[in-house]
Amino acid sequence: MGRASLGEFEHQVLLTVLRLGGQSYSVPIVLELESCTGKEVAPAAVYIALQRLEKRGLLSSRLTKGTKRERARRYFKLRADALARLRDSRDSFNRLWDGLEPLLEEK
């Protein structure tokens, strides 16, 4: 499935992980996504996206041991492939956007 295109939501999740420094767990991802998109985001949807991205080798994850003060968390980290994919998609979007700005101006 390697080069299968990213879904819009998966794309957003990847970008969010990048915004959070390339490594994070679900809570900040959900919060950041909500503040960027301005919409309520279902954690379950984020989990599914993260799982799928991990399966496709774009993210890796590790589980921290739970302690008395802090419960177990699963941290996700961008892998090199993911950066390449994001770069590619940005480039192709940029090419598509090229010269279109004037058309979007409000008349």
Partner: protein, 859 residues
């Protein structure tokens, strides 16, 4: 912290291998929400997220199991059920009863309430009610002037005798103004409808036959068009209505033109007039109402006094037709739904108890590598197979018993309802059974497949969680049963109370029958009067009859005639609605035959004839209104216009005119001999002693000795007449009593099952305790107490829930409060006792064996 309950639910829903981390992270997000949106909003959010987890992960986990596994599971389920036929039968019957009740009830609702009447642009059909009655001039003015209506037509119910070839037959007649058929958008299939010219004085008398009458009595021959039939007068048949045209919901046999009396414009004259109308295409009911009010206010001459505001009700035609049964049907729908829930809870409990016995089988499967999802799938397939079986049995029950049930309640329904089991209802049955079986199977499936039920866990701890569930479900079940039983208790008590209400007369040993001499054979009133007098003397000459009389409208039946009277003696001002007295024409023997006590003065006698002073009896209620202080005997009752009507010669006791729950209204009795238009009469004959078995034969012979050509209809004992007036109430009482019985049985089965299961799991413990010296009595007591704790909780909960539910019943109760402590106490006691017995039987059995055997490890 998230709500505790929600957290527990979360533990179940989240995929087990990641439940910990997910729950932790959800909790963190929850904390953020609490800070930002407050606790309540956060809790709502949390539940929403749980649903979303269940949906997304559930969908992932259970995505499309391959068809061969499903069919393998189904076959396995069938084999398992075949091995325990007892359990299977109980389970299937339990659910089937619930499904059958719901399918039947929803079918009736669909057929009666929501099914369209089938008329052209039905949404424009309305019924128009004025505040009091229409007057003729008012009706005609509206029909001419109101722009909001495309058609405006009137009808009056009547019954006439059809004579001629074949036996005389009483037919249901609708007298209608012109435009009646057009209002409904119906065109006769043969001939024509009724025109305005048919309603003019001096026009030829015509009739339109119903399709059914035409087919049955006239053989469906077109020759009948233009021929004359013998009705009130000879009438020419001009048309045949299309099949199934029932403008008032019930069968009509024929339609004749409604002739208005040009000289009488009183309310009284039009008291029985109904108005059906078709709104103009762009008109609204609101607009039409305002237009009628405006027309009425500006009427010339004025018809309302200044301080009166004319009001009109314009109801969708279907609502008018079926509205009266809606409260009862709502009640029945709610209670059948409750019964289904009860059945479901019971079945859940049965499955749980049985599942624990199947632990070993499941443990083996898990040990051989079946994952939890797979086990859940298997268990849910089982309950679905069970549910579908129950659905099939349930739909079969409706198909088998439905027509019979429908027959029982036909009289209570405002519309004939030809099909009970439409294809859609079969689908509904299937959907209901699948939904019910999944819901029923969910808890047992999740519980039994849970990790703590796996092979590695010990029996004791595994049982505990299931037992908690069982106990919870028993409590719920008891609460629901108490709700249903208490509701039916309240209805039954109302019914019983009502039966205790004195009718005001003595219905025992009284037979009534209706005689309708044809107006063709008896065109003059004098001859009709003579006919009834001859019949009454023939009856009184009969050895079985003690006293016989006649009345034109039998008490406790629908139908009434009312006349406006003047309470003061002075004319009631024009435009003011006068007080109405229900008015009955009787013969001198009537009062004694029915056993209505005479309170004051004298009874009517044979000497009160035409040509002498007009006299009559009034009831106590009217006597109080006419002369509260002194005796009313000797005074004159006057019509609303102040003209004298008759002199009061006696006062009789109040009787209930229509229904026992209604207060007696003002009533007058005038002698047939002095009435101007005698028509059909009901004969009331009091029989001597116990002559009632031969009674009817004798009565018929006596009646036909006078004229063999008069139809005898509605032969019934007065007891039956009184009983019928309580029909709807009896129906509700019977229906609820059967629900209550079902609930009793279900809760007994539930308590029995759970207790039996609990003690079976503890056989060893009990054996050891007894070996150590505990007496049987003590063990029984303790086990019983443990088993009855959820019952007690259920009873408390049930009283609360039943009390809430009873508020919905308030309108159906008669002299019973919704909080009647006797009912709740008795019902709680009864259910408690049933539960004790249901718990005692298995407990007793459990301690019957020898301690040594019981304490031995499982073989």
């Amino acid at each position: 912290m998230p709500p505790r309950l929600a957290e527990r639910v979360a533990k179940w829903l989240l995929p087990p291998e990641r439940a910990d981390e997910m729950a932790g992270e959800l909790e963190e997000l929850f904390a953020h929400r609490v800070e930002r949106d407050g606790r309540a909003a956060a809790a709502r959010w949390y539940y929403r997220q749980l649903a979303s987890f269940a949906w997304r992960f559930g969908a992932l986990r259970f995505r499309a199991p391959p068809p061969e596994t499903v069919s393998r599971d189904a076959r396995h389920a069938l084999r398992t059920f075949a091995r325990s036929p007892g359990f299977t039968a109980v389970a299937v019957v339990t659910l089937a009863l619930g499904i059958a009740a719901n399918v039947a009830v929803l079918s009736i609702v669909r057929q009666v309430v929501t099914r369209p009447l089938g008329y052209f642009e039905e949404e424009r059909l309305v019924r128009v009610w004025p505040e009091h009655h229409f007057t003729r001039s008012r009706f005609e003015a509206f029909r001419e002037d109101a722009q909001s209506f495309e058609k405006f037509s009137a009808y009056v119910h009547n019954a006439l005798t059809l004579t001629g070839e074949g036996a005389p037959e009483v037919v249901r007649v609708l007298e209608v103004s012109d435009g009646h058929f057009e209002t409904f958008g119906v065109v006769p299939i043969h001939g024509r409808s009724l025109h305005a010219s048919d309603t003019l004085p001096g026009a030829e008398a015509v009739v339109v036959l119903s399709h059914e009458l035409w087919a049955n009595r006239f053989g469906g021959s077109l020759d009948v068009l233009g021929s004359r039939v013998a009705l009130d007068v000879g009438r020419t048949v001009v048309g045949v209505a299309p099949p199934g045209f029932r403008p008032r919901g019930q069968r009509e046999d024929l339609w004749i033109p409604l002739l208005f009396d040009r000289d009488d414009d009183s309310y009284t004259h039009m008291a029985n007039l109904g108005v059906a109308a078709r709104l103009a295409p762009d008109a609204t009911r609101q607009g039409a109402r305002e237009e009628l009010v405006a027309l009425a206010e500006n009427a010339d001459p004025p018809i309302y006094t200044l301080d009166e505001v004319p009001t009109y009700t314009i109801a969708p035609y279907r609502d008018d037709l079926v509205g009266r049964v809606r409260p009862t049907l709502t009640l029945v729908v709610a209670s059948t739904a409750l019964v289904l829930v009860l059945c479901g809870v019971n079945l859940t409990n049965l499955l749980l108890a049985r599942g624990v016995a199947r632990r070993q089988e499941l443990a083996v499967r898990a040990a051989m590598g079946a994952r939890r999802g797979r086990l859940i799938q298997q268990l849910l397939t089982e309950s679905t197979v069970l549910g579908l079986g129950a659905g099939a049995v349930g739909v079969g029950l409706v198909w088998w018993l439905g027509p019979w049930v429908l027959d029982q309640i036909r009289e209570d329904l405002p519309r004939s309802s030809p099909v009970l089991l439409e294809p859609g209802m079969v689908v509904l049955g299937a959907v209901l059974s699948v939904v019910a079986s999944v819901l029923v199977g969910l808890v047992p499936a999740l519980r039994l497949s849970a990790a703590d039920g796996g092979p590695q866990s010990g029996r004791a701890s595994a049982g505990r969680a299931s037992r908690r569930w069982s106990h919870g479900l028993v409590a719920v079940q008891i609460a629901l049963a108490l709700t249903v039983v208490a509701s039916s208790g309240l209805l039954l008590k109302s019914f019983w109370r009502l039966r205790g209400v004195p009718t005001g007369f003595d219905p025992d040993n009284v037979i009534s029958m209706r005689l309708s001499p044809s107006e063709l054979d008896y065109p003059e009133e004098g001859r009709r009067r003579q006919y009834f007098e001859a019949v009454l003397s023939a009856l009184e000459a009969s050895p079985v009859v003690a006293r016989a009389g006649a009345i034109q409208i039998l008490p406790m039946t629908a139908g009434s005639m009312a006349v406006g009277y003047s309470p003061t003696g002075a004319p009631v001002p024009a435009g003011e609605a006068p007080p109405m007295a229900s008015y009955r024409v009787v013969t001198p023997g009537y009062r004694e035959a029915l056993g209505v006590p005479l309170v004051e003065g004298r009874d009517l006698s044979e000497s009160d004839r035409a040509g002498v002073e007009a006299v009559g009896l009034i009831n106590e209620r009217l006597a109080r209104e006419l002369s509260p202080a002194s005796t009313a005997v000797g005074r004159t009752v006057r019509f609303e216009n102040g003209e004298p009507w008759f002199r009061i010669v006696g006062v009789v006791a109040d009787i209930h005119q229509h229904r026992l729950e209604d207060e007696a209204r003002a009533e007058v009795y005038v002698p047939l001999a002095q009435d101007s238009w005698p028509s059909s009469m009901s004969i009331v004959a009091r029989l001597d002693g116990d002559g009632s078995d031969r009674g009817f034969e004798e009565l018929r012979a006596a009646v036909w000795s006078v004229d063999r050509n008069v139809a005898i209809t509605r032969v019934q004992t007065m007891d039956a007449v009184v009983g019928r007036s309580m029909h709807g109430r009896r129906l509700r009482a019977v229906l609820f009593a059967s629900f209550a019985f079902l609930s009793f049985v279900l809760s007994a089965v539930g308590v029995y099952g759970v207790t039996a299961h609990a003690v079976r799991g503890r056989t060893r413990e009990i054996g050891i305790r007894m070996a150590l010296g505990a007496t049987r009595g003590r063990v029984v007591r303790e086990t019983l107490l443990a088993g009855l704790r959820p019952v007690a909780a259920g009873l408390v909960l049930g009283v609360l829930v039943a009390n809430l539910a009873a508020r919905g019943l308030a309108g159906f109760l008669f002299e019973v409060r919704t909080t009647d402590p006797g009912i709740y106490g008795a019902v709680a006691l009864l259910i408690g006792l049933v539960a004790v017995v249901a718990a005692y039987v298995p407990t007793r059995q459990a301690v019957a064996g020898s301690p040594v055997e019981m304490a031995a490890p499982d073989s």
